[in-house]
Each structure stands twice: as structure tokens, then as C-alpha cells.
Amino acid sequence: MGFKDIIKAMTFGDKVLILLLSVITVLSFYYVKVIFPEGAEASIEIEGKARGSYLLAEDRMIEINGSLGTAKIEIKGGKIRVIRAPCRDKICMKEGWISKAGESLICLPNKVMVYITGEARYDAISW
């Protein structure tokens, strides 16, 4: 007996069940992405070296020492921002919250980079 016999032996219900489960399998790939969206994690780098990765789902405060001084970073409600920076222009603070994959906060004088990991919507941003 071979594969054909198994197919023959199946009832209509079995076939429907297989089809249904296959559809669920395919859909689950999509739903996993929705339930665990990409970009749910932020990475912090100082002078090109990884300082750590943080889940955006957990609210917290992070203090980091850049090349200029201490910066304070806040994670709240799935978003991240710089709330205190030792630099003069505070450009990273003015940028506000970021939350989407590929977005970043950069403090040039302090050589600190905060970015959301995951597959970004854009390959690069011109500014």
C-alpha cells in the first residue's frame, strides 16, 4: 500500500481537516509577526560597542556612560527616548520617542546610538 491508498482511505472530513490545518499553519506565520511585532527590542551602542539590548515591553530607566558623560534613557509603553544627555545641542532628546524597527536616536558628541532592532521598513533614511 502506498500514499495513494492513504488518500483513498481518507474521508471527506479528513481532507477538510488537513486543508484547515494547513491554512492555520500558513496564517500562524503571519499572526506570530503580529503578536510579536518586529522592533520590539532596542539596542544601545557606545562608540560602536554594544552596551545592551532591552525589551520595549518592559518599562524602565537606563543610565549609560558615553564618551562625554552620563545619559539617561527611558523605556515606556513600548517606546524609547533619551531624557537626559550631557551634550550641548541635545538633538537626541529633541528627537523624542522612537518605537519602530530601524528608527534610531544618535548622540554624536557622546557617541551613543540607540536603535530599534528588527527588519526596518526603510533600508536607509535620507535627512
Binding site: 500500500m1 502506498g2 491508498d5 492513504i6 483513498k8 482511505a9 481518507m10 474521508t11 472530513g13 479528513d14 488537513i18 490545518l21 494547513s22 499553519t25 500558513v26 506565520f29 551602542e45 562608540e47 560602536g48 550641548r88 545641542d89 529633541k94 528627537e95 523624542g96 520617542w97 522612537i98 528608527e103 544618535i106 554624536l108 557617541k111 546610538m113 521598513r121 526603510y122 533600508d123 536607509a124 533614511i125 535620507s126 535627512w127
Partner: protein, 361 residues
């Protein structure tokens, strides 16, 4: 239903029990077959999703007073060394072209202004020669001899400083690209007047992007992006066969993207009044200075230029910004190889004819 299914298979098993498959069925039971039927499509999907296109590796570094991000198609193991070599090349260019670094080629040229010609690296000759060309075609809207004015205003150095009008006027005669003498055969540069200063801030990043791409290609990378802050050069295609998808920053809403565009083997650069600015007495003072007036150019909020070469788009984004919305768009339209997007001073978006339908607005 289940009973029925099992019974049918059972009868077949009895009939052909010599078959290996049948023995397997007897050993492990019928439910396994059914399970197998469900597992097969799952496995196929898993294999499909794992054996997808080669990955993209991205790395950033603080260089040229900004962040340089290099993207290359390949795994980390394959491309990281090549990316690091590219960073080194960009660092070398920075050391030649930075006006703030003591002993750089640009520093030496500036210190010898009005005194004598200076022998410089070939890359510096290339950039200055190209800068003069772009000054020529933009009627002086882009001009690297802006140095003395940049220093006076001190964007990024001094805090909210508006110079005296007299001080600005005194410097205007020093702002003239025609007063740069370039001797390509001797690899020498001379600034004819005492007090002249060149500032390659509006063109060196684009050149670095070009050089970066050259190195990546020479070292076997098939596709990628070199982004020196917002001066971006792309080559090849994404692993999924699509063009690189590049966002353009919104000039007023920093968290937003104005629009996006797909690029293959071309460069894009944006100049905006939001990059470095301060507001005093309800007036916005941005870092892009008009070489003719000595004051910040106010005709646009942002200008994006798209063309083949990085060096060209970098300098033209500044040049067109200075020209303003109307003259700027006229310039873009008169040049077949250049496309652009201008956000005027009121926030209205103008798109060049070659880009219509290619950008979602």
C-alpha cells in the same frame, strides 16, 4: 470517522504486509500517518522560510562628524571585514578633508591662503575640482569657499549667535570659488586671497559614499548601501530582488518620513533647515548659508536630490536649497540626469517631473 479510516488502512495492511511502509504503520500506529500529513506542509513552509534569500548585514560607525552606516548583502561573516575596510577608507578621507583637524589637507590649504600652493592628496583634488564644477553650474549657489562665513556663524560651535551685519559684509569678498586655483598635474591647491577658507562639509560626505561603494564593489560585495548621515549611495538590489527602499525625512515632523523612493545604483541626499538651527525672535536661523548674502538660505524647508553620483547629490542638495524653491526646481528640470523633491518654506511639496508617480505623496 476515525474508526472508518483506521479500518480501511488496516485491511490494506493485512493484504500487503511485506511492504516496509506497512510494517512502519503497524509499529507506530495510524495516527502517526495522519500526523505526518499535517507535518509535511509545516516542514515545507519551514524549509521555505529558512532557505530564503541571503541576509543583509548592517554596521554603523561615528565618522566624518556624523554616523556612517554601511549595508551589505551577505552574512555577517562574509561582509563584516569588507565593511570595516570601507570604514577605514572613509576615516582616511575624513582625516584629509576635515577643516577641524590640525594638519589635514584642508587645514593646510586654509592656512596657506594667500601665501602659496599646497600639495594635497589626489582625493582632495578630485573633490575640490568637482566642487568648482558644481559652483559653476549652480551660479555660485554652492560654494566651498563659504568657510569664513561658516566660522563666523559657528553652527554647531557657538550657541545661537547672530553675527553683526558689518562682520558678514566684510567677509563676502572672500567667498568666491573662482579664487581657488587647482593644478591637477601638480596636485596642488591655492586659495588666491588671504583669509579665504574652504569648507568641504557640503560635498565630502557624498564623495565618501562614492568611495565607499567603490571599495565594497572591488571587494566582491554585490549590493549594498553606504549612508554618510543622509548622503546615501546604493548599488545593486536587495536580496529579494527589489530595489533599495529609501525614506526621506519629514522636515517638520522628526518622527515621520515625508515619502520613500526605490533606488538602484543611484544616490540620494537631503539638505534641510532642521538639521542645525536655532530660533531667535521668531526667526529660524539654519546652517545652510547663502554665499551671496552671508545669511541662512530661507527659500525651502528641505531639498532632496537624486542622481547617479554621491558627490553630485550631496553638493546639489545644498546648492538647490540656496537657489530656493522656484529657481531650484528650474535647475533640477533643466538637468536630465537629476531628479529632486523640494519642500518649500510653507511646507508644500514639489516633485520633479521624472519622479512623478515614483514617490508616494
Amino acid at each position: 470517522m476515525h474508526k472508518d479510516f483506521s479500518a480501511k488502512i488496516m485491511s490494506n495492511v493485512k493484504a500487503q504486509s511485506s511492504n516496509y511502509f506497512d510494517i512502519w504503520i503497524l509499529k507506530f500506529g495510524f495516527n502517526k500517518i495522519r500526523l505526518g500529513l499535517f507535518i509535511i506542509p509545516v516542514l515545507i513552509l519551514l524549509i521555505l522560510s529558512c532557505a530564503k534569500e541571503p541576509p543583509i548585514f548592517k554596521k554603523s560607525k561615528f565618522l566624518m562628524d556624523t554616523v556612517v552606516t554601511i549595508t551589505a548583502v551577505g552574512t555577517k561573516d562574509e561582509v563584516e571585514k569588507v565593511i570595516d575596510a570601507t570604514f577605514s577608507e572613509i576615516e582616511r578621507l575624513e582625516n584629509l578633508m576635515s577643516g577641524f583637524k590640525e594638519g589635514s589637507d584642508v587645514d593646510r590649504i586654509n592656512k596657506s591662503a594667500g601665501i602659496g600652493p599646497v600639495k594635497v592628496n589626489r582625493d582632495v583634488i578630485n573633490v575640490i575640482a568637482k566642487a568648482k564644477e558644481i559652483s559653476e553650474i549652480t551660479g555660485g549657489a554652492f560654494d566651498i569657499t563659504i568657510g569664513p562665513l561658516s566660522k563666523l556663524w559657528g553652527f554647531g560651535v557657538k550657541k545661537e549667535y547672530i553675527p553683526q551685519e558689518d562682520d558678514i559684509k566684510k567677509l563676502l569678498p572672500l567667498i568666491d570659488y573662482r579664487q581657488i586655483s587647482v593644478d591637477e598635474s601638480k596636485s596642488e591647491v591655492f586659495l588666491n586671497k588671504n583669509g579665504m577658507m574652504i569648507d568641504l562639509g557640503g560635498i565630502a560626505k557624498g564623495y565618501a559614499a562614492d568611495r565607499g561603494v567603490e571599495i565594497l564593489k572591488n571587494m566582491g560585495i554585490k549590493a549594498g548601501i553606504v549612508a554618510v548621515s543622509g548622503d546615501i549611495r546604493t548599488f545593486g538590489k536587495r536580496p529579494d530582488g527589489k530595489a533599495w527602499h529609501i525614506g526621506i525625512k519629514h522636515p517638520r515632523e522628526s518622527e515621520k518620513v515625508l515619502t520613500a523612493i526605490d533606488l538602484e545604483d543611484s544616490s540620494i541626499s537631503t539638505s534641510g533647515d532642521y538639521e542645525r538651527f536655532f530660533i531667535k525672535d521668531r526667526r529660524r536661523y539654519n546652517h545652510i548659508l547663502n554665499p551671496k548674502s552671508g545669511y541662512p538660505a530661507t527659500g525651502c524647508q528641505s531639498v532632496t536630490i537624486i542622481s547617479k553620483e554621491g558627490i553630485l547629490v550631496d553638493a546639489l542638495a545644498t546648492g538647490v536649497f540656496v537657489l530656493g524653491t522656484e529657481k531650484g526646481m528650474e535647475f533640477i528640470e533643466s538637468n536630465k540626469s537629476i531628479e529632486g523633491i523640494i519642500v518649500d518654506s510653507k511646507g508644500e511639496v514639489k516633485v520633479s517631473s521624472g519622479l512623478r508617480g515614483k514617490v508616494g505623496l
